[in-house]
């Protein structure tokens, strides 16, 4: 036990990265549209000076379909910036589905999903600096007030930091 007092900021520590909602769910059933009713609400851009590695997401809904897997949510990453080269020569963009969460047949959803593992990493999906994270969904019945908690860790990119 004990306490480790880094003076910070320390990059690489796992923690909560992004919270979206609770807010009204989308009324559409397509898997490539935003999960929230209002356009653009369930998305955000990763800051330009750091990469994110998303390891899990936890989703809750106050009301969902009682049919198992009737509702699905996907967390996706897309883009990045070609202006931010990595020291190891890898690309600076990525487009992939990070994880999928499906309803379990209860009137409430409270589900944790683990992301895939990026090659060369111990855990987490790489979301490059400047990329866009999007929550999309599909379902026959509209759920009520989804909220997503996204966890992971951050990697510093010194090539773009103005310090």
């Amino acid at each position: 036990m004990g306490i480790t007092r880094f003076s910070g900021p320390v990059y690489g520590a796992k923690g909560l990265l992004w919270v979206a909602g609770p807010s009204a769910a989308a009324s559409t059933s397509a898997s490539t549209v935003n999960a929230f009713l209002q356009p653009g609400y369930g998305k955000r851009v990763v800051p330009l000076y750091e990469d994110w590695f998303i390891t899990e997401a936890y989703l809750v809904c106050s009301t969902a379909s009682t049919v198992a897997a009737a509702q699905q949510w996907k967390l996706k990453v897309e883009g990045g910036s070609t202006l931010v080269p990595r020291s190891n020569g890898q690309d600076s963009t990525n487009s992939t589905t990070i994880l999928t969460i499906a309803s379990g047949g209860s009137s409430n959803v409270g589900t944790l999903a683990t992301a895939g593992v990026q090659p060369g990493e111990y855990e987490g999906v790489w979301c490059p600096a400047g990329s866009t994270l999007r929550w999309v969904s599909s379902y026959a019945d509209i759920p009520t007030l989804p909220q997503m908690n996204v966890t992971g860790y951050i990697r510093y990119i010194d090539s773009t930091r103005a310090v």
């Binding site: 306490i3 910070g8 609400y41 951050i154």
Partner: protein, 157 residues
């Protein structure tokens, strides 16, 4: 890459510190809270250094620059242990600000702003233990579905 398995509590990691919303903007004055609960006090046993904030809105004005948002810190506690560097124990500052732009003149506004760097730090604005964070805003029309994700790191005192 490797994994570092500290037993914790680990102070200093860069992470999400405070999330607020979604709420609807209720005021247009720049010195008044975005919403009645858009405020929080930092614990009295640690300093916070805020590095940036993400804001998403479900609806906002179609006029560019119609909305401005400010994150401010105020106060602290002179009763707390003085910092090792001899600095004070209170701070009053605007941590960061956001202005809706031409590209945001739509029904959705998603943006990120980086905080001012406090002296002797690599990044982040110093928000001392016991100080109060406030989200204030201005706008001719009220934005809706405002959700704030405040990022930074903590330092134990």
């Amino acid at each position: 890459m490797g994994v570092t398995r500290l037993c914790g509590a680990v102070r200093g990691p860069h992470c999400l510190l405070w999330t607020y919303g979604p709420v609807t903007q209720t005021t247009s004055a720049s010195t008044v809270l975005v919403n009645v609960n858009a405020i929080r006090v930092i614990p009295s046993n640690e300093d916070w250094y805020i590095t940036g904030m993400n804001l998403i809105c479900s609806t906002n004005s179609s006029v560019a620059s119609a909305h401005k948002v400010f994150l401010k810190t105020e106060g602290g506690s002179s009763a707390l242990t003085p910092r090792a560097n001899g600095g004070g124990t209170t701070n009053a500052a605007t941590v960061l600000s956001m202005t809706s732009g031409v590209a945001d003149a739509s029904t959705a506004w998603s943006t990120y702003a980086t905080a001012t760097v406090s002296g002797s730090e690599l990044e982040g604005t110093w928000c001392p233990a016991g100080s109060t964070l406030r989200l204030v805003s201005s706008g001719a029309t009220a934005a809706a579905g405002m959700q704030f994700n405040v990022m930074g790191f903590t330092k134990r005192i």
